[in-house]
């Protein structure tokens, strides 16, 4: 018997009603900027799930400001789903009662305000995700009713060009457009022909040209002038003790000065060790300016990007063999696919953190801030679904199961690189993560851990490398961590006899064990020591944003 009484197209009918309400403000797909609030009032319904494009770099800031100006008695109790809480307006929505709950991945500068709102009961944080996890839920239980996105340009028909900073847009639009959601795009300009079609017009409902170009943050530029000798030392340890040791060809670097130092040491220290072509050939990485010298020196075969990086557009277009570009030369980035690449197609992740406990659990959660971790939990996780073999993966897997009666499998290298003390002599190594105490204030059951200890394979500090794969039990793992924790109270609490034994077995390796003289770790080893050096290395193709122009 067919179920003749049930309606099977409620979503589609609802979509039609919304579009009818919006019709007075649109000519075809085009809506004038001054009608944006009227459009949003017409389209959005209370308790809607709204995806406001706050990517890691690109922001639909015009639409964010408009959303924050809406009348809370007409639009309220919205459920926000977005990658990044980046703009003040993203948080204003909750203070004004326009939105009441959120699922997101990262919050950076707004972390303090988020914590304050949780305390004040004005926001319910359902969950913090890693990016790919959030995108995945757009297709299951977090499908947006309305997506407010940012593109560079559109043509008259409404085809969108998202350009180098394509980022999260394809994932957001795919989920929204194909489940009767409404897609509203802000664009910087209308062009007769867009350089390429990133989002077809048929997937877009409304296009608004904004008075100012959408905001893009240069988050991945690190000035080499700020790299310290200690970071150079740790970079040498990573290259010699891990990259060369395991033959790491495919990898992702978490953003930071520690990893920028590694990138800048490849053409010098890496070349000295004869590693060109043997390590760091394939990357899941944003177009870091710090990678320019390694690319120019011939280390790099391929880079797939999550997003772009301001100032790198001309350099990328001039290196199409390396980057993923369209026929017009501009970069095509895609955060969802790059995150998948980092999870399954890379043999190593390396990044920094603020705190590590005695099990190797790592977190950046600190008191008074709710920030989330972005892509790190995805990159820094062993890919247990992976099946293809590579030398690095096999070697790490062998070390991990040595002596244990488990079936043979490989293992991703997940490396945390940290100085033992942070600024202000704050110890990185702690007995108990701040995150454990913060769980309650954040309204979560489990502590916000960025990378779990049993995924971490190595910890690199100025004291050396702890290889947790070679540790046979929790005691050895704890002592290996203490053995590289320097003069922190965790480090001073080491069992010297056990640490010596771990060193004899190679589970701890000091710089001298790897033939590294601490005194050789100077800034002279960096292939570029300033932003100006990077511009020079790029042959003038790299155009740093004004805030980085210090000459």
């Amino acid at each position: 018997m067919t179920n003749q009484l049930k309606t099977w197209d409620k979503r589609r009918r609802n979509r039609t009603r919304r579009l009818e309400r919006a019709a007075p403000y649109a000519t075809g797909r085009h809506v004038r900027a001054e009608h944006v609030e009227a459009l949003l009032h017409a389209i959005i319904e209370p308790a809607d799930r709204v995806c406001l494009e706050g990517d890691n770099q690109k922001q639909a800031d015009f639409l964010a400001r408009a959303l924050a100006r809406l009348n809370p008695s007409r639009v309220h109790d919205l459920h926000m789903v977005q990658s990044v809480v980046a703009l003040p307006e993203h948080v204003d929505l909750f203070e004004k009662g326009i939105a009441c709950e959120i699922d997101f991945s990262y919050s950076g500068p707004q972390g303090g305000r988020l914590a304050a709102l949780v305390q004040a009961g004005k926001i319910r944080i359902n969950a913090i995700h890693t990016y790919l996890e959030l995108f995945a839920r757009y297709f299951v239980d977090l499908t947006p009713n309305v997506a407010l996105i940012a593109a560079e340009s559109a043509d008259a028909a409404g085809n969108l060009y998202t350009g180098p900073n394509t980022e999260d847009t394809p994932a957001i639009v795919e989920a929204t457009a194909f489940h009767d959601g409404i897609v509203i795009a802000q664009v910087n300009e209308i062009r007769e022909t867009v350089p390429r079609i990133d989002i077809p017009a048929g997937w877009v409902d409304f296009v608004i040209v904004t008075p100012r170009a959408n905001l893009i943050e240069p988050l991945f530029t690190r000035d080499p002038a700020l790299i310290s000798e200690i970071q150079v030392l740790m970079a040498m340890l990573a290259i010699r003790g891990i990259y060369a040791e395991y033959g790491v060809r495919r990898l992702n670097h978490g953003i930071g000065f520690d990893t920028a130092a590694i990138e800048l040491l490849l053409p010098t220290y890496g070349a000295e060790l004869g590693l060109k072509g043997k390590i760091c050939t394939h990357w899941a990485l944003n177009p870091h300016p710090a990678l320019i010298p390694a690319i120019e020196a011939g280390f790099v075969e391929s880079v797939h990007c999550f997003g772009s990086e301001l100032g790198m557009e001309r350099y990328v277009a001039a290196r199409p063999d390396v980057f993923f570009t369209a026929a017009d030369g501009s970069l095509r980035s895609n955060r969802a696919f790059c995150q998948a690449a980092g999870h399954y197609a890379c043999d190593l992740f390396i990044g920094s953190t603020l705190q590590i406990d005695l099990h190797g659990n790592s977190s950046t959660a600190t008191k008074g801030r709710i920030t989330g971790f972005g892509g790190a939990p995805n990159m820094g996780a062993d890919a247990r679904g992976r099946r293809h073999e590579s030398p690095a993966w096999l070697q790490a897997g062998e070390e991990a199961r040595a002596g244990a009666a488990v079936i043979a499998r490989g293992r991703k290298l997940v490396v945390q690189v940290v100085e033992t003390f942070r600024e202000g002599m704050e110890p990185t190594f702690v007995e108990r993560l701040d995150a454990v105490d913060l769980a309650q204030t954040m309204g979560l059951r489990n502590p916000a851990v960025m990378i779990y200890g049993d995924d971490v394979s190595h910890i690199v500090t100025e004291e050396g490398i702890a290889n947790l794969l070679l540790c046979r039990n929790f005691d050895e793992r704890e002592q290996a961590i203490r053995g590289v924790a320097g003069y922190t109270s965790v480090g001073l609490g080491r069992d010297k006899r056990v640490v010596e034994d771990l060193r004899r077995r190679g589970a701890i390796r000091r710089p001298e064990d790897l033939g590294i003289a601490r005194r050789k770790a100077t800034r002279d080893l960096l292939a570029a020591r300033s932003i100006k050096d990077l511009v020079h290395a790029s042959g003038g193709l790299y155009e740093p944003p004004s805030r980085f122009r210090n000459w």
């Binding site: 200690i230 033992t420 600024e423 002599m425 320097g486 003069y487 001073l492 601490r518």
Partner: protein, 107 residues
Amino acid sequence: MEELHVEIPSRPQGRTRDAVLVGVVASGHCEILLERRAADAVPDRCIVTVHTSAHGFGPIWGAVLDDCAERHALGGLKIEIHDVGATPAIVTLRMAQAIEAWEEAHG
């Protein structure tokens, strides 16, 4: 400013030369001055004076300096450190640079 004085046993430093100065007095850094003690000083001990803007880290200084004295031949030397919140990593590095500079010179 906090001031710390320690006298630590260490292997006698054979070479003699003019004073060596490494590092900078800048936030997060330290300056280290190495000099030969008077001729009648005990050859297998060094004296260290630390002037530091960071208070309360006496025990960590003790541990760092003990390890430096074990790693390098500092006996017979007088060491003065001006510290502006350098981490043990920096102090250890500068000490290694200072003693390398000392040993490279001809006495």
